[in-house]
């Protein structure tokens, strides 16, 4: 208990003592948005108790929804979290106190926060009364806000690193049961949907954990198919398997949530940001390690850019297919009226974001050495920002039929990005080899 108190006290003290200006700036922004997130959750609580007029609530909801989006975006897509020793090298003469401060500062960017916040926040938003909402808010807040989240992360990262994903999956399961316990059983689809997502999250997390323990040996080894290595990569490679599963599970969860919500417009915009983004950002932007070896291998054997692109797209083929099946199934069951929109939107956004993801892999890479982890600096910030802009433009179609014309813009951007990539592809390779030759 004494050491826990020291840890708490020390962390709070060290956080405020951190004087790294860039970190401070980031923290201010994140702190502000984090307040917005909790404000949003609080607004939902008050919505149940009738404190605001419907118009005020709508305004508050939209404003805070933006805060959630922005927080989520930054938390998910900002080069998320690094240990202080990585952020600031040992060569810099900083005291341990300041290192801890900066470490804690980066903790704000830890996506665990978002995972706990959202997984426990989902039932909160849907909760039937103020009491259950407040109870869940307390749980969420206590798990999410430093220094509590710092302690949790310490436990997860330093003590039980290998079961990180299991804990995330377990959180999904808890969220699902919480919802079932507190929710409105007159809408069985909701309860069943969340339960399935929760169990799936937990179950897959156990599989992934087991696979991690036995190593990365292919599940499918023993048979041969020339396109298999990349076609099945999402299953055979632990890192990509995690990314893929997370993306699909989260997306399905958000989709179910959004389609059950009353404020159709904002919620749909919300899930649109998360719908293809999860797949194409978490997946696409995390395969840089793959393309790092792929490009030279392809260049060694062929000069055809068509072959290069075909292999890049093969990596995404199976996860996208699974995601598409889940998406259309959910929309078909819960919101048949929107099915046509999704049928059009999905391929368009998929094509746009695939191009951007590969472009970003090539030009704005973030190399991941080990397994995918929430606590690693693992995404390309600018690539995701571009992806967000494109998704935002795509989602503008909801504003009215005339806005559908805007769909052409992301396609033009994507086409430009792809053409730029192709044009500079060989130049880039030659530059690399030129530098190597210079060194040689």
């Amino acid at each position: 208990m004494k050491s826990l108190l020291i840890l708490l006290k020390g962390n709070i003290y060290r956080f405020f003592k951190a004087d790294f200006s860039m970190v401070k700036l980031s923290l201010s922004l994140i702190g502000f948005l984090a307040v917005g997130f909790y404000g949003f959750l609080l607004g939902r609580v008050y919505q149940s108790s009738g404190m605001f007029t419907p118009e005020q609530l709508l305004l508050l909801q939209d404003g805070l929804l933006f805060a959630v989006l922005a927080t989520g975006v930054i938390k998910d897509f900002y080069p998320s979290y690094r240990n202080s020793s990585d952020v600031i090298g040992k060569q810099f003469a900083l005291s341990d106190t300041r290192r801890w401060g900066i470490n804690l500062g980066y903790d704000f960017l830890n996506p665990y926060w978002l995972v706990f916040g959202l997984l426990l926040g989902i039932p909160l938003i849907m909760a039937p009364n103020a009491f259950s909402s407040t109870a869940l808010l307390c749980v969420t807040a206590s798990l999410s806000v430093p220094p509590f989240s710092h302690i949790i992360r310490q436990l997860i990262d330093y003590k039980f690193r290998s079961v990180t994903f299991s804990i995330t999956g377990l959180a999904g399961l808890i969220a699902a049961f919480s919802f079932c316990a507190l929710g409105d059983f007159t809408t069985p689809y909701r309860a069943v949907g969340f339960l399935i997502i929760g169990i799936a999250a937990w179950y897959f997390s156990r599989i992934v954990y087991a696979q991690e323990k036995v190593g990365a040996r292919s599940l499918l080894s023993g048979t041969s198919n020339s396109s298999r290595p990349f076609l099945w990569l999402a299953f055979t490679h632990p890192q990509l398997r995690k990314v893929c599963l997370l993306a699909i599970i989260f997306k399905a969860g958000f989709l179910v949530l959004a389609l059950q919500s009353d404020d159709h417009f904002t919620e749909l915009v919300y899930i649109l940001f998360y719908s293809p983004i999860f797949i194409f950002s978490y997946f696409g932007n995390n395969i840089w390690g793959m393309t790092h070896g792929m490009f030279p291998t392809i260049q060694r054997i062929t000069s055809s850019w068509k072959i290069s692109l075909s292999y890049l797209f093969r990596i995404l083929a199976v996860p996208v297919l699974i995601d598409a099946i889940i998406t259309f199934a959910i929309v078909g069951i819960f919101q048949r009226g929107d099915l046509l929109f999704f049928l059009i939107f999905y391929p368009v956004s998929a094509l746009s974001l695939t191009g951007i993801a590969f472009w970003s892999n090539h030009f704005l890479p973030k190399y991941i050495e080990n397994s995918f982890s929430f606590s690693k600096n693992s995404t390309s910030f600018w690539a995701n920002i571009i992806a967000l802009i494109v998704t935002g433009m795509l989602s503008s179609a909801y504003a009215g039929p005339a806005w559908y014309a805007l769909w052409i813009l992301p396609l033009i951007i994507t086409l430009t990005a792809v053409l730029y990539s192709i044009q500079h592809f060989e130049e880039g390779i030659r530059k690399v080899f030129g530098e190597l030759a210079n060194r040689g």
């Binding site: 292919s218 080894s221 030279p296 030759a437």
Partner: protein, 252 residues
């Protein structure tokens, strides 16, 4: 036959190769020698189309690398440490990937790379390990399998012996000797002169942007009266080096 036709390459103001010209014939192993930075890797990269020449061309059996890069690469194999494999895949999947790029049928490809793997590796189960678990020597052997599984008529090797244990070196030498038999051309760039001496038929020495020696190994060692390292030293450092300035280092 490969013709290197008056090829020149500069990086900025630095001239690396200038009007380089030679022909490489089948059934011959060429040893490419030179000091660090002489331009050996640049020449190999130009030959494979990884770099674009400022002037001149490399022609494989009448086909320019600039216009027929895809075809030429399909009949050429290259082994180089500068060309990474896909770390995230297993050895098996890396070879399968390369085979699919060569357009080999799956069954045929598997037969070829499995038999090669058995030749170079003691334990065939290593094939299913992720590449991250491979040592430098294992990676090199895997890269060689990837470079020859399509039976290329030209095999270019950049430092093939680096990182290999003595057993693997012997295997590599035997493999290279056997590979040249079927009218194939091999170009080997290496600093391991003793190995070059054992396998090369012809020596190319790159120095001051050009070939300063281009003849048989026999001629290079002046009919065997000189050791290969001495011969190379005599060409590259014709004047006696003055060691007076660093005498302080050798004194007590």
């Amino acid at each position: 036959m490969i013709e290197i036709q008056n090829i020149s390459k500069s990086f900025g103001d630095e001239v690396v190769l200038k009007n380089l010209h030679t022909e490489l014939h089948p059934n011959t192993i060429y040893g490419l020698l030179g000091k660090n930075g002489a331009g050996k890797t640049t020449l190999i990269n130009l030959m494979m189309g990884f770099l674009e020449a400022d002037s001149g061309d490399v022609v494989f059996d009448g086909k320019s690398i600039q216009h027929y890069a895809h075809e030429i690469k399909q009949s050429t194999g290259i082994l180089s440490d500068d060309l990474p494999l896909v770390d995230q895949l297993t050895g098996y999947h890396n070879l399968e990937f390369a085979a699919s790029l060569y357009g080999l049928p799956a069954g045929e490809a598997k037969m070829r790379f499995t038999s090669l793997f058995e030749y170079f590796f003691d334990d065939v189960n290593e094939l299913h390990k992720p590449l991250k678990q491979y040592s430098t020597g294992m990676r090199k052997k895997l890269m060689l399998i990837s470079a020859v599984m399509h039976k290329p008529i030209v095999l270019i090797m950049d430092e093939p012996f680096t990182g290999l244990d003595p057993v693997a070196v012997k295997q590599m030498i035997e493999f290279i000797r056997s590979y040249k038999q079927a009218s194939r051309t091999l170009l080997i760039s290496s600093h391991d002169l003793s190995y070059i001496e054992r396998i090369a038929d012809h020596i190319l020495v790159l120095h001051d942007h050009k070939f300063v020696f281009n003849d048989t190994l026999k001629q290079f060692t002046t009919e065997g009266s000189t050791m290969i390292d001495e011969a190379l030293y005599n060409i590259l450092v014709p004047e006696e080096r003055n060691t007076e300035d660093i005498n302080w280092l050798f004194e007590n």
